[in-house]
């Protein structure tokens, strides 16, 4: 069919192939991808092992954090006497799970609302988008902090709160792509054939939005890690018995800790920075796949 239409001799490359093509031309992205996979695997497997072997949250308070050299541990102890090397696996796993959760649910909402809005267009689109605009105007950080100081700080509440504010951007993105797709011939054809709208939207149109979605998913993941650690750093994270990378970095707020006890905050900081950089590089490669104008080939 393709060759009949416009003289292309080759079949179009699959998204995966394009992605690997991009990676081949972008050493940074390919290194990042390998590192990211290694880090994620280490974190999840490590957290599982650590939690089954030790009581990570067992506290034996000390006047000050204990350095790696003095404690005979890899990353020292914090002032509650917790082994930082054990803690960082659990903290990183918790942070990642929350970030994945937020990203996943915000995409579910974003996709549903964006696709509906883009597919129907016109009045429906106008109404939905004005609601989205209004919601978008709510000062995110202020509201989240205010709510977190009165609500129970459990994982579902935390994910729900962050999702409630991050689906908006996804919806706008998906709506824009869906709007252009809805003008395509295959949609009109399907409509003429009497396919139900819901089937057209989520079975026929959605697969054509995958490139945009995947690229943005990865970038949103990086943003979610940032928001989660940021809130924890400010003291609005999950409870004291739920370690996260942000709560580990919180130690650095004390000037004395910042100066003299780097082992209680630096590993978490390095890990967050590494993960976010890797995710961004991979995400950028994916974005190029989604957008032909940016591609190397």
């Amino acid at each position: 069919m393709q060759s009949l239409e416009s003289g292309f001799s080759e079949k179009p490359k699959s998204l995966l192939k394009l992605f690997f093509y991009e990676l081949k031309h972008d050493i940074l992205a390919s290194v990042s991808l390998v590192m990211l996979i290694a880090i994620f695997l280490t974190i999840f497997i490590g957290a599982f092992i650590v939690e089954s072997l030790f009581d990570v949250m067992w506290v034996t308070p000390r006047p000050l954090p204990v350095s790696p050299a003095n404690s005979g541990t890899l990353l020292g102890l914090d002032s509650l006497g917790r082994n930082q090397f054990h803690l960082i696996f659990v903290a990183a796993r918790n942070s990642l799970l929350i970030s994945f959760g937020v990203t996943f649910f915000s995409f579910i909402f974003g996709i549903v609302i964006g696709v509906i809005s883009g597919f129907y267009g016109g009045k429906t689109d106008n109404i939905i988008m004005r609601i989205v605009d209004t919601w978008n105007m709510v000062p995110f950080l202020m509201v989240v902090i205010a709510l977190l100081s009165v609500l129970s700080r459990t994982v579902p509440v935390f994910i729900a709160l962050l999702t409630a504010f991050s689906w908006v951007g996804r919806a706008r993105l998906l709506r824009a792509s869906a709007l252009s797709q809805s003008q395509m011939d295959y949609i009109s054809a399907s409509k003429t054939l009497g396919t139900p709208n819901i089937v057209i939207m989520f079975r026929e149109m959605l697969p054509n939005l995958v490139d945009v979605t995947v690229a943005n998913f990865v970038l949103t993941l990086a943003a979610s890690i940032g928001i989660e650690t940021g809130l924890s750093l400010l003291g609005f994270g999950l409870g004291w018995d739920f370690p996260s990378l942000g709560t580990m970095m919180q130690n650095a707020i004390n000037p004395m800790y910042l100066q003299h006890f780097p082992w209680v905050w630096a590993p978490a900081l390095v890990l967050v920075c590494t993960i976010m950089l890797c995710v961004n590089f991979v995400g950028n490669a994916l974005q190029r796949v989604a957008d032909p104008k940016q591609r190397y080939a």
Partner: protein, 629 residues
């Protein structure tokens, strides 16, 4: 809301009290490697020694004492004694006035101040007589009539402050009722001598022995000639906002307010007409400084004198600064871990009163509370947060104001998990669920809710408590899963309706000079457990009764008070702490001053422990010393 003077919980001073906490020397203990570094209280002298000659007055702008205010409260700028109720403002009030009636080391009124103090039990009259010629800052003589004016201010129906309370005994003065009703324009029970130098205050009901303690009978005069025109102009409601209650307030102490930057700083000039001599410095600058920056500010010579937090000690040990030293003494504050075993209801007259908890929650079982108390590791908190300077409190009484009454042989809550387990087993809590938590007597699961705000003490104590309580099979969870924001927390536990959602919480107080435990009365807002019982009321009544004038009866009553508190366990006292003050090496003659509302502030004292005053404090170098120079 009645604010009681010696048990007022200050949100601010709480933070101050509870952040007074810390971590110790570098390295610390790790996996049993190095031992915990202890600083003993011996390392903190109660005064500085500096033999260098003091700078003369008038040598320029450098001879100014720079005082850092590291409390969480900031200057509201209202310094009028009758109306002000803020720690930072109170400090300014201390230096612009001088004790009208002074007190001794046991906090009892003495005759060493401006006026003598005597209570005649037979006639039920307090007699005060001026012993010095003292002048207000504007040169007008201070007389007993100014004290009468303070009473007229406080007793007035339109008075906006909190001092019209049983704590000051003012409602008990003869003639106050008629004055408040408007049928008399003076208080008939306050009788001045012809020369206005002697005042007799007659009371309706006989005073309890607590009237002999500083901070009870109101003794702070207010300049009538200065403020009466203000009342004529703006009325009683307008006093608080008037400049004459603020930066233009008259005092009779060693320093005069020069400029006030609300919330930031106060600059004071010396009063050369101070009745005990002119101050040795050209001025005093009081500035706010955040807790965390105190060690760095002291090292750089930004301040001469600042209150230190225990949390700052670790940095002190790390940096080992050479330009300043620490002095210390027992802190006038205390913290209790409260068990919510009642609610605030109303009695037959509609007045608030504690009502025992009736929802059958296991916290009402005294065996549970006893086990919780025995399983709370206060020694570790003292060692770790208090740098070994704190001691787990063995008594409900505090050495700051009740040192003479504490029974050294009284039973206390030692940390003993085995004993805690045994208490629970004996009380019948033997059934356990799959996770090993004990079940209630009726076989249902038990959960206790712990509510707390975050500060260096609680950051350690809360996880430690929950861990230890888990070990004795009691499931304790944090309310909302985490530390609570301070105002949210106090709204629930202090002002909340009913029992509230929190069963266990800690709260601290500033202590007054007077040891009587009015805080635990059934009608007291700050009876945090909301506890009351016949035995409790009996012993509290005894302490406040006329029989308590008998020292043996009073001592016995306090002993019974310790005992009943230990037996009924409405709360667990945390630790006895130290107050520490950092003093630059250029400061001479600085030592402790205990103010009448119970705060220890740096000032200076003579060797016999009597108040001598700020006017003797001097500086021996033109600028604060800087570390490393």
């Amino acid at each position: 809301m009645k604010k009681s003077r010696n048990v007022r919980i200050l949100a601010m001073s709480l933070v101050a009290v509870l952040t007074f906490t810390a971590c110790a020397g570098p390295g610390g203990a790790g996996g049993g490697a190095a031992p915990v570094q202890h600083i003993t209280s011996d390392e903190f002298p109660a005064y500085t020694t500096n033999d260098a000659p003091v700078l003369p007055r008038g040598t320029g702008s450098d001879n100014i004492l720079r005082f850092g205010n590291a409390t969480a409260s900031t200057f509201s700028g209202l310094f009028l004694a009758t109306h002000s109720d803020d720690a930072a403002d109170g400090f300014v009030r201390e230096v612009i006035t001088s004790p009208f009636v002074a007190w001794d080391a046991a906090n009892l009124w003495t005759n060493s101040g401006i006026a003598s103090f005597e209570y005649d039990r037979d006639a039920n009259v307090v007699i005060m007589e001026m012993q010095h010629d003292v002048y207000w800052h504007d040169g007008v003589p201070l007389t007993m009539d100014d004290l009468v004016f303070a009473y007229e201010l406080i007793a007035h129906p339109d008075f906006t402050g909190v001092r019209f309370s049983d704590e000051t005994f003012i409602p008990n003065v003869v003639g106050v009722d008629a004055y408040r009703a408007g049928t008399a324009n003076y208080i008939s029970g306050m009788v001045l001598s012809n020369n206005n130098r002697t005042l007799r205050i007659y009371y309706v009901e006989p005073l309890p022995p607590s009237a002999l303690f500083a901070g009870s009978v109101w003794v702070n005069p207010v300049a009538r000639h200065h403020l009466e025109p203000v009342i004529a102009e703006v009325g009683h409601e307008g006093i608080e906002g008037h400049a004459r209650a603020r930066d233009q307030l008259l005092g009779f102490g060693p320093f005069i307010i020069d400029t006030v930057v609300p919330g930031e700083s106060v600059f004071l000039l010396p009063n050369d007409n101070y009745y005990r001599g002119a101050p040795l410095v050209d001025g005093m600058l009081i500035e706010n400084v955040p807790f965390a920056l105190v060690p760095a500010a002291m090292r750089s010579g930004a301040h001469d004198v600042v209150h230190y937090q225990a949390a700052n000690l670790a940095e002190y040990n790390l940096m080992n600064p050479s330009n300043y030293q620490l002095i210390g003494w027992a802190a006038a504050s205390t913290t209790f871990l409260n068990f919510r075993i009642g609610r605030r209801g109303v009695d037959a007259n509609g007045d608030p009163i504690a009502v025992p908890r009736a929802d059958g929650h296991p916290i009402t079982n005294v065996a549970i509370r006893r086990a919780l108390a025995h399983a709370s590791d206060r020694q570790t908190v003292s060692d770790v947060v208090g740098q070994g300077l704190w001691t787990p409190a063995p008594s409900v009484l505090h050495p700051f104001n009740a040192g003479n009454f504490i029974n050294p042989d009284a039973e206390s809550f030692t940390f003993d998990l085995a004993l805690a387990n045994q208490i629970l087993d004996e009380a019948g809590f033997t059934e356990r669920d799959a996770e090993g938590y004990r079940l209630n007597l009726d076989g249902t699961p038990m959960t206790f809710t712990y509510g707390q705000h975050s500060n260096p003490t609680h950051d350690v104590w809360v996880p430690l408590n929950i861990q230890n309580w888990r070990q004795i099979g009691l499931r304790v969870v944090m309310y909302q899963g985490d530390f609570l924001e301070w105002n949210f927390f106090t709204d629930i536990v202090v002002h909340g309706e009913d029992y509230g959602p929190i069963d266990i919480f800690a709260m601290g107080w500033s202590l007054g000079a007077n040891p009587n435990p009015t805080l635990w009365a059934a009608n007291a807002l700050f009876n945090m457990p909301r506890h009351t019982s016949p035995a409790f009321e009996q012993v509290l009544g005894d302490i406040m009764s006329q029989e308590a004038w008998d020292p043996d009866f009073l001592a016995d009553a306090y002993r019974r008070w310790e005992q009943v508190f230990y037996e009924e366990v409405p709360a667990l006292p945390l630790t006895w702490n130290l107050d520490i003050v950092a003093v630059n090496n250029r400061v001479a003659n600085l030592s402790r001053v205990r103010t009448d509302n119970g705060h220890n502030i740096p000032g200076n004292m003579t060797a016999n422990n009597g108040f001598s005053g700020w006017h003797l404090m001097g500086l021996t170098a033109p600028a604060p010393y800087v570390d490393g120079q």
